[in-house]
Structure formats: structure tokens, C-alpha cells
């Protein structure tokens, strides 16, 4: 661990140099070769999601024949996780961002999967003017001053003063409202919230704390847990509420907490957020045991594949054919859309004749009423999607199965 920390520190220090190396935001892109990078945790519990996102990006590039106008697009997936921990690592993320910065052909960056890693990579890519689109980050402070952000956010992530980061998933103010609304709809009279202390998990728990009184929903407790603890038996014994919302990730011992809570109170309803709403969670060898599956539900921004429009349905058909997966991971479509938005923005930027990174960023931020596989959405001035619906999922026969749509209620979601 010490060695790992030192290595991370070394990478972090080397990343402090900021941009440069591969051309600035307004430098004209010479040549006809462009590179799109992705940075995702290929190892560990989130490996399946990373693979799904990467396959989505590959499919988007393939759909265009690897070309955008006169430019040939190469896709380079990078791993931001460590084998030694099986989780994403800030140092590896910074290293990946530096790799993109030092490549003069780099035009876009799909990532990160974890909000905590984006905190590190956004400033590095921002200095070089490289557009970053996240298929998974939901933490509010990355883009806005919406409730739940921390002091100094989000401006501290954008040293140039210009935004370069956008995301295609709705932020946590919306997910928090969706989780509490789902619990309310299921008859929960009060909730107990647990978080794993990560940027994403603690931020989402904060949002739940802010939104619950508006629903209204009583919060019996809002506790952080130690993700490296062996078990949470006595912590779980404190739960008095009939429902528990757990914002911790699967790789942060989220399943163990769920098990211990369910053991302490056999009838408790368990809710998880998108950090644990994964195919791996439905697999009893990695996730929720079969005996607890009926008590578990979770939210993720992906809606029922049957409700998608023709483009969405085509995506699922193409993806299943290409990768021989009848049930693509929910994150696959976000990988596809992140890359599609990026490639379409490159095309728009190149239309004027001169292509620069800044023009690509401008094109992303000028996205209005885009008809996509996810539905019609715009990107606002902060880089957030205007999509607001969340899907509630349950486990049926060891498979994560769509349950219902949780519509966003504007009165519950703060502005910012």
C-alpha cells in the first residue's frame, strides 16, 4: 500500500505540470489523424462496466467507419485502475490524462467512470483544452453549485476558466430525488442512509439528506462506513428505519453492508444507487445473495430498452450482435452516446474547415435538442445533460431487470 501510495504521489506530482506537450485549445489540428481516449477502471468490480462502455465507444466509432469527415479516428482505451486494489486510482487517472495531453492528435476523452477520478483529470485536460465527456459521473460538484457541492466547486476544476467537461448522465441531485421517491412509492415511512466516503457516494448521501425533507421522508440516520472493514454487523444493528439507501459502490464493500443490514433486520428494503446498480450485483457470486435479491432495488440513469426510440433500439440490436450479449450492461449505451456526442461535435467543428480542440468543446456545449439513443437532450452551460429520468431496477433470476421509471420532480431538485 505504501509503495502504491508513493507511486500515485509521483504520478500526481508529475501531473502538476498541467497542459502542454500536445498543442493547446486553439491550436489548429494538423494532419488527418485524430485520437479519442477513454479512461475507465478495467480491473476490479467495475471492470464489466468499463468493458461495456469501451465496447459502446468502439461501436460508435465503427458506425462511422472510423472516419469523421476527412479525419481518421483512432480509439485508445486506457485503464485507470490498479491491479493491486481492484479499484480506480487517482494517480492512474492523472497518468491517463497526461497521456492524452501529450498526444497532439488527441481530440477527446471519454471518462472517468468514478467522480473522484474526474476531480483529478478534469483540470489536466482543461489546461490542454481537450473535451472530456463522462458516461458515468453523477457527483454534482464537478459541474455545478447545485446542493451537495463542496466549497470552491466546480470552478477549481477549470483552471482556464472555460468549461471542457460534459456528461451524459443526470447528476446526483436528480438521482437522490429518484431514490427517495422510489422508497416513498414503495411505502417506506423512513430511511437510513449509508455512504462509503468517496466523492460520489458521500455527495449523493448529502443530496439525499437535502431532498428527503422535501418529499417528505424522515431520515433516521446518515452514516459513513469504512469500505475496508471486514463487516458492519454492529453498525447495521443501529438501523431503525424500514428502508435503507446505500450509496456506496460495489467495489467499496457495498454488498457486505447490504448483507449485514439485511441480517440485522430481515424485512428491511434495500436501495442502492448507480454505484451498485450493476450486472455484477445481480450475480450472487459477486453481489447480492439470492436470498436477499427480492429486498433489493437500485437506480441507474438507463431506462427500459423497450421504451427507447428507434435509434436506441438499433443500438441494443447492434450491440448485442457485435458483442454477442443479449443483455448489455446498462452502461454500454452511455459509452456509445458519449462517443457519439464527441464524434458528432468533431464533425460540426470541422465543418468550418479549421479544426481545433476549442471548436470541439464549443460544439459539445452548443448541443441542443439532440436526438440520441438516450432520447432528446441538450447540454447546459455547466456541461450537464437535460435528461432527468432514472430507471429503478430489481433482481429477477440473477439478472438486473428494469422495474419502473422514476420521473424527476422539479420541486425536489435544486438549481445550480
Amino acid at each position: 500500500m505504501t509503495a502504491v501510495s508513493i507511486a500515485s504521489l509521483a504520478v500526481g506530482v508529475s501531473a502538476c505540470g498541467g497542459g502542454g506537450g500536445g498543442g493547446g485549445p486553439t491550436a489548429k489540428i494538423t494532419g488527418t489523424s485524430l485520437t479519442v481516449y477513454s479512461s475507465l477502471p478495467e480491473q476490479g468490480a467495475s471492470g464489466d462496466q468499463a468493458k461495456a462502455i469501451e465496447n459502446g465507444v468502439k461501436l460508435a466509432v465503427k458506425d462511422r467507419g472510423g472516419k469523421v469527415g476527412k479525419y481518421t479516428v483512432t480509439y485508445k482505451p486506457l485503464d485507470d485502475s490498479l491491479a493491486s486494489t481492484g479499484a480506480a486510482d487517482e494517480g492512474k487517472g492523472a497518468q491517463n490524462a497526461r497521456t492524452a495531453v501529450q498526444d497532439s492528435s488527441a481530440i477527446g476523452y471519454v471518462g472517468e467512470y468514478n467522480s473522484g477520478i474526474s476531480k483529478v483529470t478534469i483540470p489536466i485536460l482543461n489546461k490542454a483544452g481537450i473535451t472530456q465527456i463522462s458516461p458515468a459521473n453523477t457527483y454534482v460538484g464537478l459541474t455545478s453549485t447545485a446542493p451537495g457541492h463542496e466549497p470552491g466547486e466546480p470552478d477549481k476544476y477549470y483552471p482556464t476558466g472555460k468549461r471542457t467537461y460534459a456528461r451524459v448522465v443526470p447528476k446526483d441531485t436528480i438521482q437522490a430525488a429518484a431514490l427517495v421517491t422510489a422508497a416513498k412509492q414503495d411505502g417506506c415511512s423512513s430511511i437510513h442512509v449509508f455512504n462509503s466516503k468517496t466523492t460520489y457516494s458521500a455527495g449523493l448521501a448529502r443530496n439525499i439528506g437535502l431532498v428527503a425533507p422535501k418529499v417528505p421522508m424522515k431520515i433516521e440516520g446518515n452514516d459513513a462506513y469504512d469500505p475496508k472493514a471486514a463487516n458492519y454487523r454492529s453498525l447495521a444493528a443501529n438501523v431503525k428505519a424500514p428502508c435503507v439507501i446505500q450509496t456506496g459502490e460495489i467495489e467499496q464493500n457495498g454488498v457486505q453492508l447490504m448483507k449485514d443490514v439485511a441480517t440485522a433486520d430481515k424485512g428491511v428494503k434495500l436501495y442502492g444507487a448507480d454505484g451498485i446498480c450493476l450486472n455484477a450485483s445481480a450475480d450472487p457470486t459477486k453481489g447480492i445473495p439470492t436470498t436477499l435479491a427480492p429486498q433489493f432495488k437500485c437506480t441507474i440513469a438507463t431506462l427500459d430498452p423497450k421504451t427507447f426510440g428507434p435509434t436506441g433500439k438499433k443500438f441494443f440490436k447492434d450491440f448485442s450482435t457485435e458483442y454477442h450479449q443479449p443483455h448489455p450492461d446498462p452502461y454500454a449505451i452511455y459509452g456509445f452516446e458519449s462517443a457519439s456526442l464527441l464524434l458528432d461535435s468533431i464533425q460540426k467543428a470541422a465543418a468550418s474547415g479549421t479544426l481545433t480542440r476549442q471548436k470541439v468543446t464549443d460544439a459539445v456545449f452548443s448541443t441542443k435538442d439532440r436526438k440520441s439513443v438516450l432520447g432528446t437532450y441538450s447540454i447546459d452551460k455547466n456541461g450537464d445533460t437535460t435528461l432527468t429520468d432514472y430507471g429503478l431496477y430489481k433482481i429477477v433470476g440473477k439478472t438486473l431487470t428494469f422495474d419502473r421509471v422514476i420521473k424527476s420532480n422539479p420541486s425536489l431538485v435544486g438549481s445550480g
Partner: protein, 364 residues
């Protein structure tokens, strides 16, 4: 005791200050360790329910968790006692024990539908295999990594131990991947077996304590009564003198690693059945806690390691359950490690040799 003796004054104090010092020196640690449970007991009795059930359940969880730490801690303390090496790989060996157990469940076809007789037989076979595999690995590590460095500077075997720790971790990662892995709850661990006025003792508690106590008793008896055990103690005290007396020091050291490995294998299987969740990194935290337990009890001292394991298990569970009541709502279970190590520091300050006392060459 130690704190009092440092002053150089007789225990029969002549002034009030000296009397207080003497009292604290003699009973300070006991007061310190008992303060938490006593405070919570009084607190709970003053509540309208006048019930000690909550505290009782936390203590049960603490004891059963502590039993697992105790098994791992004994492995650390045995090795440190005999060659004064912190065997960093020991926690990861414990992880391998969990993984072997998980593999054996599949090999033997143990599932939730397996009958009681088949399950008990299967678990006994699994326990034996886990213990033997871990013992073999530990002996091999000693033979390959530590024995050639017997006369090298202390840092050489220490860093070799770190290396073996990483190797075992990566073996675990290659084996079951980087994710946490669910283990079938074969014993239905949370089934209540005993109910003492609301304080429940589950199958998992009985498993943890019921295996740890006999294993430790057998081992301590072996060390204190058998010829080989005496050889181990002689080697721990002075290897050169032991060699001159005809003791095969290398074999004795190998035997120590063998015993440590046996206990790590048992601990690993208990952990897998208790938590029903295993992963390649579990040994790091478990090793840290177990080593802390060994130091707390008195490094080199088997009884101390067991005591330290139980104390840490109880402190952890008490902190998880009650810390917010003492320190306020902003303090939750994420502060548990701070509490554990605060206790360790206090114990070290008052009793640097640990609760029961070191049994090493350095300690004399």
C-alpha cells in the same frame, strides 16, 4: 505495574498523589479497557427500557470477530517470537485460506441444499485442506525466502516478507479476480442458536469461537508440554544456545511457520463462512488488525495475541455501534480505526511490552 515501577518508589504509597499513581499503574489499563463497556452499560440501564440487550449483542459480535483476529494474530506472534520477523505475508496467507475454502466448497459440491451430515463432513475436510495448504505455503515461504536470510540484516527478510505479501495478493487476484466474491452462506450464519433474554448468539459466532478456542488451546498445550514445543521456546530465547544443546533450529523454525500457517488456514475458512464475502485484498486489513492485536497483547506472547484479538474485536464493534453516541452525529463507524489505534497507543504508553508482556529475546 510497569508505569509504577518506573517511578522507583515503593508500591506502598505514602502520599495521596503517589497512591493514585500506584493505583493507576496497577489498574489503569483494566480501567481503560473496561471504561467503554461499563459506560455503555450504565447508559443503557438508565434508559427507559433498562436493557443491556444492545450492548450484549455488540459484545457477542465483538467476541466472534475477535476470535478470527486472534487466530491470525497468533501466527504473527509465533513468528516474531522465534525469529523476530514481522511476517507481512501472514495476512495474505489468511486470504489464501479463505480462497482455498471457497474452492473446496465447489469441489466438494457443498451448497445450501447439502444435508447436515454431508455439510459437516465437507466442512471438516475443507478445514483440514485449508490448514494444510496454508501451512505448506508458509513453510515453503520460510524455506525459500527467510532461511537464506537468517544472518542477513533485519531489513532483508522484512522486505522479502513484503514481497511475499504482494505475491500472495496477486495470486488471489488471478484466482478470483479483483472483485469481492460472494461465498454461499452454507451454515446460514445469522440463524440464532441461543437467546439469552434478547442477546442472541448465532451460528457464525459459535463457529468462530468454537473453532478458535480449541485450536489455540491445542497449540498452547503443544508449545508448553511437547518436546518440540520446548524446542520452540528454547529457540525463541536463544537460537545459538538451543543449537549447542542439540536442537535443530531450522526444523524448529519451520515448525513454527507450519503452526502459524495451520491457524491462518483455519482463520481464512472461518472468515469466508462468517463474512460470506472474500477478496484478494482482505488479508491486508486483517493482517494489520491482527498484528496490532499481537502488539497490544505483547508480541511473541501467544496468550497476549489471543487477548489482543478479542479486545480489538470488541472495540471495533462497540465503536461501530456507539461512537456517535459519545462523539456526536458527525462521528460514525469510519472513525473505528482511530479508536482502535488510540487504544493501542494508550496501552503502549502505559505498557510498552503489551498487556501480558513480550516474550522475545529483546524483552529478555
Amino acid at each position: 505495574m510497569e508505569a509504577a515501577s518506573i517511578t522507583g518508589k515503593p508500591l506502598a504509597a505514602t502520599t495521596p498523589v503517589a497512591a493514585v499513581r500506584a493505583f493507576l499503574g496497577r489498574y489503569g489499563l483494566i480501567i481503560l479497557l473496561a471504561a467503554g463497556p461499563v459506560y455503555f452499560a450504565i447508559h443503557d440501564l438508565l434508559q427507559p427500557s433498562h436493557s443491556l440487550v444492545k450492548l450484549g449483542n455488540v459484545l457477542v459480535a465483538g467476541i466472534s470477530n475477535g476470535a478470527i483476529w486472534a487466530l491470525v494474530a497468533v501466527g504473527y506472534t509465533l513468528v516474531y517470537g522465534i525469529i523476530e520477523l514481522i511476517n507481512f505475508a501472514h495476512g495474505d496467507l489468511f486470504m489464501i485460506g479463505s480462497f482455498v475454502g471457497y474452492g473446496m466448497f465447489g469441489t466438494l459440491g457443498l451448497t445450501l441444499t447439502t444435508g447436515t451430515l454431508g455439510l459437516v463432513g465437507g466442512l471438516v475436510v475443507t478445514l483440514i485442506v485449508c490448514m494444510l495448504v496454508c501451512a505448506s505455503i508458509n513453510v515453503m515461504i520460510e524455506r525459500v525466502g527467510y532461511r537464506p536470510l537468517r544472518n542477513a540484516p533485519k531489513l532483508a527478510p522484512l522486505i522479502t516478507a513484503v514481497g511475499f505479501s504482494f505475491i500472495l495478493q496477486n495470486v488471489g487476484e488471478l484466482w478470483l479476480g479483483g472483485s469481492q466474491h460472494g461465498v454461499t452462506d452454507l451454515i446460514r450464519g445469522s440463524t440464532h442458536v441461543i437467546n439469552l433474554g434478547g442477546v442472541t448468539i448465532d451460528r457464525q459466532d459459535i463457529l468462530a469461537v468454537g473453532l478458535t478456542v480449541p485450536l489455540v488451546l491445542v497449540m498452547t498445550t503443544f508449545i508448553s508440554q511437547s518436546r518440540l514445543g520446548k524446542a520452540m521456546r528454547a529457540t525463541a530465547q536463544d537460537p545459538e544456545a538451543a543449537r549447542l544443546m542439540g536442537i535443530n533450529v531450522d526444523t524448529t523454525i519451520s515448525l513454527t511457520f507450519l503452526i502459524g500457517g495451520l491457524l491462518a488456514g483455519a482463520g481464512g475458512l472461518i472468515y469466508a463462512l462468517y463474512q460470506t464475502n472474500i477478496w484478494f485484498f482482505q488479508g491486508f486489513r486483517a493482517g494489520l488488525i491482527a498484528f496490532t492485536a499481537a502488539v497490544m497483547g505483547g508480541i511473541g506472547n501467544v496468550r497476549g495475541a489471543v487477548l489482543g484479538g478479542f479486545i480489538i474485536g470488541i472495540i471495533q464493534q462497540l465503536s461501530d455501534n456507539r461512537i456517535h453516541e459519545v462523539l456526536g452525529k458527525n462521528f460514525g463507524s469510519e472513525w473505528t480505526n482511530v479508536v482502535v489505534f488510540a487504544y493501542l497507543i494508550l496501552i503502549m504508553v502505559f505498557r510498552p511490552q503489551g498487556l501480558i508482556g513480550e516474550e522475545t529475546r529483546e524483552a529478555g
